[in-house]
């Protein structure tokens, strides 16, 4: 079994913890509990006849005044960078999060999660235009969550 450390990055309250919970336990809660520090969840997945164990790092959301210690990024095989479609400022900070990931893990793969797509009106959903390696996800309605993690792993092993 091959272990891979992957990170979830993004501002607070964008749904990092919820995406992990959906992916690992297939559960969701509307309640918000602030993540403190880091929490590692494990998930086993078979891809192209190989077994992997993902060690998914849920990290306390960064705020402008509080940066994540970058040595937590060490040894990560990839990152999921999450933004909240209902909060513009969390989307504009996506590149920043990616950049700090790449400052430690040069060239390592990533995917973007534009989360909480369930909250957008249908009209806006249709008009969404996302950059490369991006997914409109919903932890609440289980949209694109598996795809998100699998695509990252695909990029990691390819």
């Amino acid at each position: 079994m091959i272990r891979k450390k992957i990170l979830l990055l993004g501002d607070f309250h964008v749904g990092k913890t919820s995406l992990i919970r959906r992916y690992v336990d297939n559960a969701f809660s509307d309640d918000y509990l602030t993540t403190i520090g880091v929490k590692i969840s494990k998930k086993q997945i078979t891809l192209h006849d190989r077994e992997y164990e993902l060690l998914i790092w849920d990290i306390e959301g960064a705020t402008p005044t509080k940066k994540i210690p970058t040595h937590y990024f060490a040894g990560a095989a990839g990152a999921i960078v999450v933004g909240d479609l209902t909060r513009e400022e969390t989307l504009t900070s996506l590149p920043e999060h990616l950049q700090s990931f790449h400052s430690v893990n040069r060239g390592k793969p990533w995917v973007f999660a534009y989360n909480k797509v369930d909250l957008l009106p249908v009209e806006q959903r249709k008009r969404l235009q996302l950059p490369e390696w991006s997914f409109a996800t919903s932890a609440k309605e289980d949209l694109n969550v598996d795809t998100l993690f699998t695509t990252l792993l695909e990029r990691i092993v390819s």
């Binding site: 272990r3 450390k5 918000y32 602030t34 403190i36 520090g37 590692i40 060490a74 040894g75």
Partner: protein, 391 residues
């Protein structure tokens, strides 16, 4: 030795650490009993540390470096595990072993989490409020007890085009405050009912309220369009739709004001001669056109502060400025001649008669108009196309 010291120190300071020793292959060696409890995983000699502490996956390079360099330590802080919070420290122990220290920080972290929870929720709430306030068409700002603007919404910055320079702020204050000394004075005047504020061409309805004992919230809602419409409407109501001159009612107001001013003036009633025949013979379209041209000819001779109004069909009222009655009579005479020589629509020749009077001590509007009307009657009955003054 330093690390043994560290274990000792920690125990002595009641800052309890559990420990695990691992070898160069990252396999578990000795460990303290409580470490198992803390991790919620059974520790087995010779087993890979990565199975019990997956947090260390990815830190292989760090572990190797600690062995090779003999110093350098590494920490992953505030790791949630098994329902508890831990700090994980990696330290050089000896050339064969590396020390992993586990510190239980659950209690203090739970407190921190509560604080963060509140602070995050507050941030979210204030972000939400901010975007609500920013989405308003109104200009909204908050002034503190020193009269300083401590908050302003997006519309405020767009409208006043402010960066935060002090000069701009000062200039802006002058515009906003108008004739008022400061924001508190402005607030008082708003409370007394002065609820309109003009900035250049723009008109705002202004509201102000103390949101707490020190801060006043001002809201400026743009009502320029509304005011323009209202003004246009008022104008429409005050004026005769055909000729554009004042209506009788508005003229009466002017006349009453003029009487109070005590300065001399003349009131003139004028009537187009034989207008009924024009209407009968040429029709109402020509008749209407004649009325319009009639007022145009008269207006050419009026000063800005003189007034003309339509009383009824073809009868008009004038307020003329004059030092003596003769001046007014002369002016009417000039107008009369102008009309006589003017070529009206369809080549018509039109004349008019004039009754002139000047106010006496104690005259009210009705008496004055009555006297001028009497003068007009005399002008008509003595042959029309003339000016008669009655004293």
């Amino acid at each position: 030795m330093r690390n043994v010291q560290r274990i000792l120190n920690s125990i002595l300071s009641k800052n309890v650490f559990e420990y695990i020793l691992i070898d160069r292959d990252a396999n578990v060696g000795d460990f303290s009993l409580e470490a198992t409890h803390l991790l919620g995983e059974k520790l087995v000699h010779g087993e890979s540390i990565f199975d019990v502490l997956p947090e260390l996956v990815g830190s292989e390079d760090v572990i190797e470096e600690i062995f090779n360099r003999g110093k350098q330590s590494y920490a992953i802080k505030t790791v949630e595990k098994n329902g508890r919070f831990l700090n994980i420290y990696l330290d050089y122990f000896d050339s064969e072993k590396l020390l992993i220290l586990l510190q239980d920080i659950t209690e203090v972290t739970e407190i921190r989490r509560k604080i963060m929870q509140v602070s995050n929720q507050t941030t979210l709430l204030s972000n939400t409020l901010q975007s609500i306030v920013d989405s308003q068409k109104a200009i909204i700002f908050l002034v503190d007890s020193n009269g300083k603007i401590v908050f302003a919404n997006k519309r405020f910055h767009e409208y006043f085009d402010t960066d935060d320079s002090p000069e701009l702020r000062q200039e802006l204050l002058h515009t906003l405050l108008d004739e008022h000394r400061d924001f508190h004075a402005l607030h008082k005047s708003v409370r007394k009912g002065k609820d309109e504020l003009r900035i250049g061409q723009d008109v705002f309805s202004i509201e102000s309220v103390y949101v707490d004992p020190v801060n006043i919230l001002f809201t400026l809602t743009p009502i320029t369009d509304l005011v323009r419409k209202k003004e246009a409407l008022q104008n429409e109501i005050r004026h005769d739709p055909l000729t554009g001159v004042l209506r009788k009612q508005s003229f009466d107001e002017e006349l009453r004001k003029r009487l109070l001013s005590k300065r001399p003036f003349a009131l003139v009633v004028t009537d187009i001669d034989n207008f009924k025949q024009i209407n009968d013979r040429y029709g109402h379209v020509i008749g209407d056109k004649a009325l319009i041209q009639f007022t145009e000819v008269i207006r050419k001779r009026l000063r800005d502060d003189e007034t003309i109004a339509r009383w009824g069909g073809e009868e008009f009222l004038l307020l003329l400025e004059c030092a003596t009655p003769e001046e007014a009579i002369d002016k009417c005479e000039t107008i009369r001649r102008d009309l006589e020589q003017y070529r009206f629509e369809a080549g018509l020749h039109i004349t008019a008669s004039f009754g002139v009077s000047c106010p006496h001590e104690g005259d009210d509007a009705a008496t004055l108009v009555e006297r001028a009307d009497k003068a007009l009657y005399q002008a008509k009955s003595s042959g029309k196309n003339r000016v008669v003054f009655l004293n």
